[in-house]
Symmetry: C2
């Protein structure tokens, strides 16, 4: 059933509007503009045509089948629309409309769920900004029309934040496979959506902004999410960690946040990686989306700056990343890649005199050594090495040698270092604005692999 959202043959927009700026207009424009190739049916009793498409007075009048109906009409009219959807055989109703339990209108929300159940229609929402699935060019949201394509599925319980993140992910070139606004979760919840994504070949990692699950459904949440994390990593921010934050949640989505310790325990049990900020969530998700899973925990840091090497070393120790103690042979091999005053131990410090060649030699040693599982490449802007040259060389090296060792990078410098990091990111080598963020991301990958192995052994 839910799968219809990912592969709908047709989408109806109930409440499609001819007025630019209106939600019913923006949703329809986004569906068409982002390139969805299935059939699209605007539903509006007062229009014959909207945005070049024939409009229908009711979903019941649509000639063909309707898999997904996006609903943007006023709350009071939603029950009738859901009933129409039921009679039409719509599989999922995406209820964007707000004015339900989040403003105390619990009864109306219960009513639409009841009707939906009668007919076997599933409801996403209400009180959401829509959903998107980029492999099929579906953008059924009232956010920006463009969505960067990629392998991260984002599920957001906050509408405003979710929409804002649509722009944010574009700016940061973070690619999404899917995007779900879940709002009041009257029917479909975060666990069910995550389950749906297990089989999705375009999703490598699931990122969730969560304010709270429904009371009494903790056990089900843990059970379902455990199944998900056996197959795919899940990274989640749980907002409402503090008592005051929980009160803010209550006045925001009306959901009961529940004690943070409970969530902490549930996440741990379910193998969900907990991020503490949205930025951190994407830091981690990017690494999973772009890199192979670590094959082990022995990590090597290669740097041209002692300071960032120290910062990364601290971060590794604090996040449980095991820094390899290289064998004498490996130390000797690293020694050949650097000036005499460099440091061949871990961190491997190529010194500020390092040029592209030093990095490539050290990378070659690291990639070929069976001792090394993961690689952290750091760079500080120097006069002798343009970061863009280094980024290009790294990408070329990784592509030519089909490197399978998990790698993260961090470049510190000005605009050119920033550009170099964008280049790396665009070529699936995750790059971070600080060594600590790079280390944190890889630490979570290593944790996940260990978690999953332990789980699978059971």
């Amino acid at each position: 059933m839910l799968k219809a959202m990912l592969e709908p043959k047709s989408i109806a927009v109930i409440g499609a509007s001819r007025t630019p700026g209106k939600i019913g207009y923006v949703v329809l424009r986004n569906i068409i503009g982002y390139g969805y190739s299935g059939r699209v049916y605007p539903i509006n009793p007062h229009a014959n045509e909207i945005l070049g498409l024939k409009a229908y007075p009711s979903v019941l009048e649509v000639p063909g089948e309707v898999d997904v109906a996006v609903i943007t009409i006023p709350a009071q009219e939603v029950p009738k629309a859901i009933e129409d959807c039921g009679r039409k055989g719509v599989k999922v109703a995406v209820v964007i409309t707000s004015g339900f339990s989040e403003v105390g209108n619990v009864e109306l929300e219960e009513r639409i769920v009841k009707i939906a159940r009668e007919y076997g229609v599933r409801i996403l929402g209400p009180n959401i900004f829509g959903y998107a699935y980029t492999p099929r060019n579906i953008n059924a949201t009232f956010g920006p029309m463009e969505i960067e394509k990629g392998n991260i599925a984002l599920i957001s319980q906050s509408g405003a934040l979710g929409i804002a993140l649509m722009g944010w992910t574009i700016m940061n070139e973070i690619g999404l496979s899917a995007l779900f606004s879940i709002g009041n979760m009257a029917d479909i919840d975060v666990a069910e959506l995550s389950e749906l994504l297990i089989e999705d070949p375009h999703t490598r990692v699931i990122a969730i902004y969560l304010e709270g699950i429904k009371p009494g459904r903790g056990g089900e949440f843990v059970e379902k999410m455990s199944k998900v994390t056996r197959e795919k990593p899940v990274v989640a921010v749980k907002a409402g960690r503090t008592s005051r934050g929980m009160r803010a949640v209550a006045s925001h989505t009306g959901s009961l946040a529940g004690s943070d310790q409970l969530y902490e325990a549930a996440f741990k049990q379910a193998g969900i990686i907990r991020a503490y900020t949205v930025e951190e969530m994407f830091d981690i998700a990017r690494a999973f989306a772009q890199q192979p899973l670590p094959r082990g925990e022995n990590t090597v840091i290669i740097t041209n700056g002692g300071g960032v090497g120290v910062l990364a070393t601290d971060a590794a120790e604090l996040t449980g990343v095991k820094l390899l103690d290289p064998s004498p042979q490996l130390i000797e091999a690293f020694k050949q890649t650097m000036p005499w005053f460099g440091s061949p131990k871990n961190p491997v410090d190529l010194t500020g005199q390092a040029v592209v060649d030093n990095y490539l030699k050290a990378l070659k040693v690291a990639v070929e050594s069976p001792e090394v599982d993961n690689i952290v490449i750091l760079y500080c802007r120097t006069a002798v090495l343009d970061p863009r040259d280094l980024a290009k060389a790294i990408v070329e090296f990784y592509e030519e040698n089909k490197v399978e060792k998990t790698t993260v990078t961090s470049f510190v410098g000005g605009q050119d270092a920033y550009d170099a990091m964008r280049y790396l990111n665009r070529h699936n080598i995750p790059s971070y604005s600080s060594p600590e963020r790079a280390i944190n991301a890889i630490s979570k990958m290593i944790w996940y692999v260990k978690y999953r192995e332990a789980k699978r052994k059971k």
Copy 2:
């Protein structure tokens, strides 16, 4: 004596070079190119003129006085140069040259210090990239020529990181008053430099990247830094927090890092704000540089997105920022600024329908209310409010009303939200990529005010 670095009437570059790319060339080019208006003397026995300036074979041949000498010649020749400086009456020798204690050459380092002491010359370095003082257009480094001017003094024990941060601060439009590379700290140390900056009217906050102070000088460090923090906030990153990080420090600068608990205690005693990443250090320093100190701890969050409001609330609770419980009157006043379904409590949620006018009204209420000390402005990208319009309106409001309440902001969205944040930052309203970072910055400001008040009462 040290003050000569901030107001030198003349600078000599011992080892000035005609060869582009050489350190002795870059330093001279930067001093000239960044616009230093005092006299500049290239010292090079093999040249008559360098970069359009008359060159002298020795600093002793310079006709006028020399306040500061920047030294870039090979290590073995440095003792002689220091002696010349002494005979010439140079006040500070900035020894860029490396090859001293950091590579085990302790004896040579001790020798130059001994000579310097005999003549009363002070030494910055050796093994540094130079120093800068932007109010006088002094850039005596071999980093980039441009330095963004501002009110943060940066002291870096790591050369590579410091240089990389020169580019990074430009890209992020973070303004510096001064920049000191301290390297081996053979003579002038971080505490003395901080003391020097107490009286500097252009420095509002001191940011320090520290790997370790000299053994046995902990007491002196605490004493001097306590004096500094009574007048100006100091934010420091201490690298080498973990045992492995400390080993990395030892192989990097050769300095003994000492146990992290000792530093933790010393920082606390000295009133130094500890940052855990370089990004965090600048987050905090920016707030101090741009905003007035908090007049109290009652903080109000104004937002158009519930989700970011919750994240900020959590962050406030976790960092000890006291969120105001508004009086009934204040709640009523906030109520007038928002749609009926908004939340007038704290966080003040103007809802996703908020436009500029809602924000301005809420800001007016917050600024005029005696209950409110500090303001956190959050924004999530919506279709109804362009973040650039909001940023302009905020800046105008703050400038017109000469708002004296400490304010930080965070906008979540795409390129336009990013541009809006740049605009805010450029107009002294610090803006951060996440609500948590904004809250963290203001939490440290509030902490500092309390610390200082307690200290001054004693």
